[in-house]
């Protein structure tokens, strides 16, 4: 048996080596026609900023693959694995000093709405320094569509606009999605049942703690995470990890259910009066955790407060609001500057309702520069769980809010913080925790499947990791060059070799995940991995290769 294994290994190595050498042979004489060709200018060396292997192994490996493919195409590559914060400051920097980069967008629930991925990252108005259009994609036809989808209140009409936008992205290829992960989680099937898993959110969504059913007398749900919290202040929270806990303590006007449909939460109902006006009726009988009733006034206070203090994390959802008016005892009116389709499913689903009686004077009383400095040890909200204790770096413990308008079966949840994925996996195995908050790394999925007290669930991600370019300068400003490059990424290999199949393959302009069924346009043709096709496209566009096999621009 062993000999067979070694034999197979030997043969595969021989084959790979053979394949490599034959490849380089065919590349060495691209101009073997015998005629003397006149060349344009050399295509400049391309700098790719990618990830450090310890931060994102897959992106690091993908960048190396890309480097090899582009070098084979005759493009010199300077591949620079870069620390994350440095990478972000380069691509958001003032001088746009990069040619290509790999990075990703997380699959936050508010990004199920297509506005972020269609408008924010590709609209020409965001192409300046610090703007989200780091690619520098500027296309008038596209801008019209991106603006129109944002203002279109009819979902079917908006869907068609979003679909058209995706067609442009697939052709223009301003961004090549490399892959998206599969969100795989496990829970202890001896202690809990009825766990919910959501696309883009995984198992630690806002429904699992609310719907989970305990099977033993110990009704505390213990969740293991590898991300520390920096605060329990909803005004100061600025990452998804805080937010996943905050939204269980602070209620919001609406919630997105596991089918990604809007459900009433603190809002009993809402009425779109006209394109610029929305009335929201508050659910009666709600209480904050300190026993004070939740009123329409608290809702108005919350929105005014977030807007006045310019809470950066939420500002993009709020800047469209002109004013918030108190109509009667339980109705609040939102006046908008312009029609804004994501108002209900993004803004209303994100902003935590904070109690006016606590926050009104906090800045003066505590002598703070900004309310995000408030320690907020009590964290009084009106959500399904009450904060009991937060030990920084260790755990956050809550108890169930029995006054909440939904029947919750568990007694509360504990969010345990671990230093690394291995520790979370071990805690699942030993039964120290009941579920993992973040998805497994591929290596742990099979291990979890072999443990009898664990049930494994999976869902797709709506976030993605991608390769993008600086379209402000050559060579990526050229349509044909990008078209050719779109054929140089082996999406399937990335998925199979580096994600062990646990994910979805990428593609040109694939910013709306196939998981996001309503908004995803399935009828788009995307370039496949085909290096020969890439050469052909370049050749047809007038590019040539010099004696050394280096790519030259078309003659002017």
């Amino acid at each position: 048996m062993k000999i067979v294994k070694w034999f197979v290994l030997f043969i595969s190595i021989a084959l790979i080596l053979g394949a490599c050498s034959s490849n380089s042979d065919s590349n060495s004489d691209p101009d073997s026609s015998g005629e003397v060709t006149e060349h344009g200018e050399s295509v400049p060396e391309v700098r790719i900023f990618s990830s450090l292997p310890e931060a994102n192994q897959v992106n690091y490996e993908a960048a190396k693959m890309i480097e090899t493919e582009w070098e084979a195409l005759g493009v010199s590559v300077d591949n620079r694995p870069t620390e994350f914060n440095t990478l972000v400051s380069i691509i958001y920097g003032d001088d746009h000093d990069y040619d290509a980069y790999t990075i990703g967008w997380g699959g936050r629930v508010d990004r199920i709405d297509p506005d972020m991925f269609i408008h924010s990252i590709f609209h020409s108005s965001n192409a300046g320094p610090g703007g989200n259009n780091t690619t520098g994609f500027m296309n008038d036809e596209y801008d019209v569509l991106a603006d129109a989808q944002r203002e279109e209140m009819d979902p079917a009409a908006r869907q068609s606009l979003v679909h058209q936008a995706q067609e442009i992205l697939a052709v223009e290829a301003p961004l090549l999605t490399l892959y998206s992960r599969l969100l795989v989680h496990a829970y202890n099937n001896e202690r809990f049942t009825n766990m919910t898993i959501m696309a883009g959110e995984g198992m630690y969504n806002e429904w699992t703690p609310v719907r989970a059913e305990p099977l033993t007398d110990d009704k505390m749900l213990r969740i293991g995470s590898q991300f520390d919290l920096d605060t329990v202040n909803p005004v100061g929270a600025n990452s998804t990890y805080e937010w996943r806990n905050m939204r269980l303590i602070y209620d919001k006007l609406v919630r997105l259910n596991p089918e990604i449909e809007v459900e009433p939460a603190a809002a009993e109902s809402w009425d779109v009066v006209d394109d610029n006006t929305v009335d929201v009726k508050i659910r009666p009988g709600m209480l904050f955790h300190d026993g004070v009733p939740v009123t329409a006034e608290d809702v108005k206070f919350t929105y005014d407060y977030f807007i006045d203090w310019e809470i950066a994390y939420f500002m993009s959802f709020l800047e469209v609001i002109e004013s918030v008016e108190l109509m009667d005892e339980d109705t609040v009116r939102f006046n908008l500057k312009r029609p804004y389709a994501p108002l209900i499913n993004v803004t209303f689903a994100q902003i935590p309702i904070i109690p006016k009686h606590i926050w009104e004077n906090i800045v003066e009383e505590e002598g703070l520069a900004h309310p995000d400095e408030y320690l907020n040890e009590e964290a009084i909200g009106s959500g399904p769980f009450k904060l009991e204790q937060w030990r920084r770096g260790e755990e956050l413990r809550t108890s169930t809010n029995r006054d909440f308008y939904e029947d919750i079966k568990i007694d509360g949840f504990i969010y345990r913080i671990y230093a690394q994925p291995e520790a979370v996996m071990t805690a699942l195995e030993t039964g120290d925790i009941d579920m993992n908050a973040e998805q497994f790394i591929p290596a742990h999925i099979q291990r979890a499947e072999e443990v009898s007290h664990l049930n494994v669930l999976e869902a797709g991600d709506i976030g993605y990791q991608y390769l993008s370019f600086n379209m402000r300068k050559p060579p990526f400003d050229d349509f044909a060059f990008r078209q050719a490059i779109a054929h140089t990424i082996d999406y399937d290999l990335i998925l199979d070799a580096h994600l062990q199949g646990y994910g979805l393959a990428g593609g040109a302009g694939l910013v709306i995940s196939p998981q996001n069924e309503f908004w995803f346009n399935a009828n788009v043709d995307r370039p496949q991995f085909d290096p020969e096709k890439a050469r052909q496209i370049l050749s047809e566009a007038g590019y040539t290769w010099d004696d050394e096999g280096k790519l030259r621009f078309p003659l002017q």
Partner: protein, 326 residues
Amino acid sequence: MSRLISFIFRRTIQMLFTLVIIATIIFLMFRLMPGDMSASMVDPSISAEARQQIVERYGLDQSLWIQYTTFMKGIVQFDFGNSFYYKQPAIDILLDKLPATLVLMFTAMIFAYGIGIFGGAWMAWNRGSKRETTGVAVALIFRSAPTFWVGIMAIYLFSVVLGWFPSSGMRSAGYIADTNFQVFFSLDFLKHLILPTIVAGVFFLATPLLIMRNTMLEVMGEDFIEFARAKGLPERVILYRHAARNALLPVVTAGALFIGSAIGGQVLIEYVFSWPGLGREMVLAAQRHDYPVAQASFIILAALIMFMNLVADLFYSYLDPRITYN
């Protein structure tokens, strides 16, 4: 006695001078790092104006000189500024995590130095025996093996397979302490402490063990040991009262320096055992470009190492009366 006081006084002045230089280097070092802090503080999807606003609020748009003077003024008042990331005073964040690291490091140190000093003396006494060779080999193996690997193996064996000790953290999930005392002195905490202590301890063990063994060998060749033997003193008394005491000096220096650096924790131990200590916080602060926390931790670290050096010097005269302070 007055000599001692003037010695302490001179050393303190030297320490303050060194600290100012260190603080300046640290200040410049973090600002020379590539990338700016606003990238780590705010979600990349936030608008450029919001980013600018935060930069202004933390005074990062001011000239380097103004930032430097504010920083130095703050240090004098023990104020290291607000953490960019936690938005709370940096010193509070560090003090919050300090006890966890100190408890782990001190128990590991007692473990390592306790075994190291007696074991080292014993090994020198039994020089050339099989037991001695084995002892040196074992100490060196644990010194050379990567701590995270030893940690992972220990967790696998003692937590997953045998189920004797908890795999990570300082306390069981949902543990409620009635008093502050209970936070660190309870059976639950002790159970969590054992595994990381042993793993850290066997890593530290080689230093005191080998230093002790080597100095013992030197001491044992000296005349006063011969005299003690000639007096007919029992072996054990010669070994521990006469030889070991004189061989302790270098071990004390190593130990004092160890305490100084222990505040930084053993990052890998804390990482493997998810120990919520200072070491991980320092690494994260540097990664997040959270200057206030990173600066505060490095300055405290430097100050502590210098202070412990002074303590070691003072301790010398107790152990060896021949040493005087001139």
